[in-house]
Symmetry: C2
Subunit: 532 residues, 2 copies
């Protein structure tokens, strides 16, 4: 039952195995092709016969990286499968997946009422809202809302393609939510695109922005890899601005100016900027003052602002508060003066809904040239429409049961319970990580992640170099093999030179997160001894 995978032998012997597996079943996400060892079994004979090879395919796709579901996850899935065998070599009995913000995959229960409404929307009337037992099996407010939604759909069916931007009524619910959130700032259903999660909105707008290989987008370092991956996919330039780790991953205006000027002096046509607030992977929540500076910066330099606000409901720090970019832009008057092009994203996957499987979300486009918006609408139309279940869930996230309705109290209680537990877990993990010598972790004011910096022994950095891995990939592989915890190496989100670490969610249960903290500690000790 025991083996010591952390010998140099494991590194040299185990690695080709992992790479082999990853060639045949896995994903090349976080490893550039040059990292494959020279003596790797060649498949060039086979490849010669193919039309589409790594050489002939789109090099943008070949080179794009996507770490959240990359190498470590593939190894983790393999280990999970091995664990079902009795004589597996591991010291643990299950893998803890903390690599991805996927709450319901690690035990978070779906909110009851939205699922009831959605099921009733999908059930044909005679076996759903009109079934004689419906009123006994479903709460009255779920039946009412389902009927309202069905009435707004073509022939009452969620099985029809909707308008390419989404069902009008559901977009109107989004608009009410935005307007209420922003203290009454108006919103327009024609500016709303219901999307498959936030992802398809982000991809559409970057697709429009990246006109050619000179175009560039300011993105934070560290950032969520959908930005780097999508910019790679469209052949644009990633222009990184460093967040200020020492100050809770704050955003610094001078650093923004530096990044922009440096890129422009290199001939990069920087036309847009990504802001992620609350931060992923950092967990930081930006102050209103900072957002004001960012808006002014974008107006001054004529940058389209992409506001990734999918964690807007995940704020745990009592002193922090989420303020939308739209609200700030309105308060500054730049929206009214039509001086800012702002794309904002939200999703059903995060918050307390955690409805990732729905692929629900929206993009709001404010201040865009109407002709450009029409072209984006055309692009959305070529994919017909987003998932109707995602559309319904987005609307239910934006408008729950009303106070006084049958499910109101239960719905609010379920939401609070998830929120309070997330808040406790954010504390457990940050505090626990900061107690480990060699770890340093900014508080997770928001989102679902902790993003500690980890000091690695010089010998480990050297060993990683020899193995053709980033040092924190070596570390994450070791953590996985020794403890069963699957994290994402910090390098997957981009890093300052010499900073190492990882991102972990705090989505598993509180007891599990407490266990994980202890494992992070014991593994780090062992790892440092190994490479002392």
């Amino acid at each position: 039952m025991t083996r010591s995978p952390l010998t140099t032998g494991w590194l040299l012997l185990g690695l080709p195995l992992l790479l082999l597996d990853f060639q045949s079943n896995g994903v090349l996400a976080s490893v550039a092709p040059r990292e494959v060892p020279k003596n790797f079994p060649s498949i060039s004979n086979d490849k010669m016969k193919k039309r589409l090879t790594e050489e002939s395919m789109s090099q943008n796709i070949r080179q794009m990286e996507y770490a959240v579901r990359g190498k470590i996850v593939i190894a983790a899935e393999q280990i999970r499968d091995e664990l079902s065998s009795e004589n597996h070599p591991y010291d643990f009995d299950h893998v803890v997946f903390t690599n991805i913000g996927n709450p319901q995959s690690v035990g978070q229960k779906p909110l009851t009422w939205p699922r009831q409404v959605m099921a009733l929307v999908d059930l044909p009337d005679h076996v759903g809202v009109n079934h004689p037992l419906a009123s006994q099996m479903f709460p009255a407010d779920a039946i009412r809302r389902a009927k309202e939604i069905k009435a707004a759909m073509a022939c009452g069916s969620s099985g029809a393609y909707s308008h390419s931007k989404g069902v009008k009524l559901l977009r109107e619910d989004v608009v009410k939510f935005i307007s209420h959130r922003d203290g009454g700032v108006q919103a327009d259903p024609e500016d709303i695109f219901l999307t498959n999660g936030a992802s398809t909105g982000i991809v559409m707008i970057l697709n429009a922005l990246l006109a050619d290989s000179t175009c560039g987008v300011l993105i934070p370092i560290p950032q969520y890899p959908i930005y780097s991956a999508t910019i790679d996919q469209f052949g644009g330039n990633k222009v990184g601005y460093f967040l200020d780790e020492a100050n809770g991953w704050d955003l610094n205006l001078q650093e923004l100016e530096r990044a922009l000027q440096e890129a422009r002096s290199q001939g990069i046509n920087v036309n847009s900027m990504v802001l992620i607030n609350p931060g992923n992977p950092t967990g930081g929540v930006l102050k209103k003052k900072t957002i004001k500076e960012v808006v002014k910066f974008c107006v001054k330099h004529k940058l389209v602002l992409l506001a990734d606000e999918v964690y807007q409901e995940n704020v745990y720090d009592e002193k922090a508060q989420f303020v939308s970019v739209k609200r700030v832009a309105h308060e500054l008057g730049v929206l009214q003066k039509d001086k800012l092009e702002l794309a904002s994203f939200h999703s059903t996957s995060k918050g307390v809904f955690g409805e990732c499987g729905r692929r629900g979300g929206y993009m709001e486009l404010v201040g865009f040239d109407p002709v450009v918006k029409d072209h984006i609408y055309k692009l959305a139309s070529s994919g017909l429409c987003s998932s109707l279940n995602g559309q319904v869930m987005t609307a239910l996230m934006c408008r729950g049961p009303e106070p006084g309705e049958e499910s109101y109290d239960m719905h609010e209680a379920e939401k609070q319970s998830i929120y309070q537990s997330l808040k406790r877990r954010s504390q457990i993990v940050t505090d626990g990580l900061n107690r480990i010598p060699g770890f340093s972790c900014q508080p997770a004011q928001g989102a679902m992640y902790s993003f500690p910096a980890v000091q690695l022994p010089e010998a480990a950095v050297e060993a990683a170099k020899i193995a053709g891995l980033s040092p924190d990939t070596l570390y994450a592989l070791s953590l996985l093999e020794r403890t069963g915890i699957c994290v994402v190496p910090a390098s997957g989100f981009s890093q300052k030179e010499g900073r190492f670490g990882f991102r972990t969610t705090f989505l598993p249960s509180e007891a599990e997160m407490e266990r994980c903290v202890e494992l992070f500690r014991s593994h780090h000790e062992e790892f440092c001894q190994k490479y002392a």
Copy 2:
């Protein structure tokens, strides 16, 4: 209540109005910017202030066309809204949308059992499969299947992101379906990508294929515009091969060779070919012999073959039969010899399910370089996964209730009823159109469309030219204004020079389709008199 919109006055007066509307609310899909009249109210002052303009945005997106949801549809939606007013100027009381294969939007009822299973999968156990009334409200086989599906999902929840290719069990259902359909030819769950409709699969594979602006794809003329739009989007070359209208839109090998050689002689790196069978918009069903020729052609010229088989269950002609490309390739032995790279697509949106709103479907990749497949997996991963509701519906399409199970008879009866009605409607429309002087329509052996050629008066062609419209756009606008029927101009699917016509679905009810045929006839007479 009456006006005569078909005067020259309407053409000259009405058109700027339509274009105006379409600039502010609509989509530029089928009209290139040069077609906007010179005297069109300028928004250049406003545009000057914007960072993202029609000039600075991606020109690939700007130039891509997507007619199925283009100009005519926007006009149709506007008219539909006008019809709610009492003193509208139209001779009809509702718009008939035959522009898009969207069965449930025009009255097709969803199949009951799959919706019951899906609803139970989505309902939390305590209010779903374990609710004391569940067994009275839901059939036992729906409850059993829902439990089986839930057990295969992370923590039993459809709210979790799945594996990027889709839930393994659901892919296994797809594999069984394919293998059964193809007479036992093996399939592998690792080759299956569950996708949002067929669209996201098509976009992924074209994205990988179109490495640079020299790359090209053979596509049929006429074709379904997702191919032209996506090739435009990635900056590749559309290499058209003409289908043989006189022979039921058959595919002609000499024409394929001509198209390929001509493109290659122009320096286009043609690396792939699209086959749509049954045909969209043509309704043709290819013979096995023809598919054999295509497979051999692709092997000979080393072309990746994209088989769009989303209408595989929509075959109405007793003499025709759907045979999959995979089966043919297997019978020819080229699959076993690893000589063909084949991507096949299927969807829940068509067939008798018509579940467009689910965005369910799959892509099967056979014979691809494993490394390339890994890169495509990485691309899929960057969008996390397809809609879980779409995944569930895809599996239920592939595996219905078993004979002897509670819902089997009802499910089969519902499927037959839809199928037989579609079959009758295909006949009603084709026969009806062929009785109109000046119309010529190949039989709709399959799919959901009739695609008549319509002889237009010379004066109409001239008038269209003056108005900056394609002649069949002029015709479709006229048809819409006079009858309320919304079709897609044939030019939206690409056409032989001088051929005009439109595509209509035969999805509205049989009575409605009979009424439409009569309206096609009366409008055509009127139109020809007007432009005599």
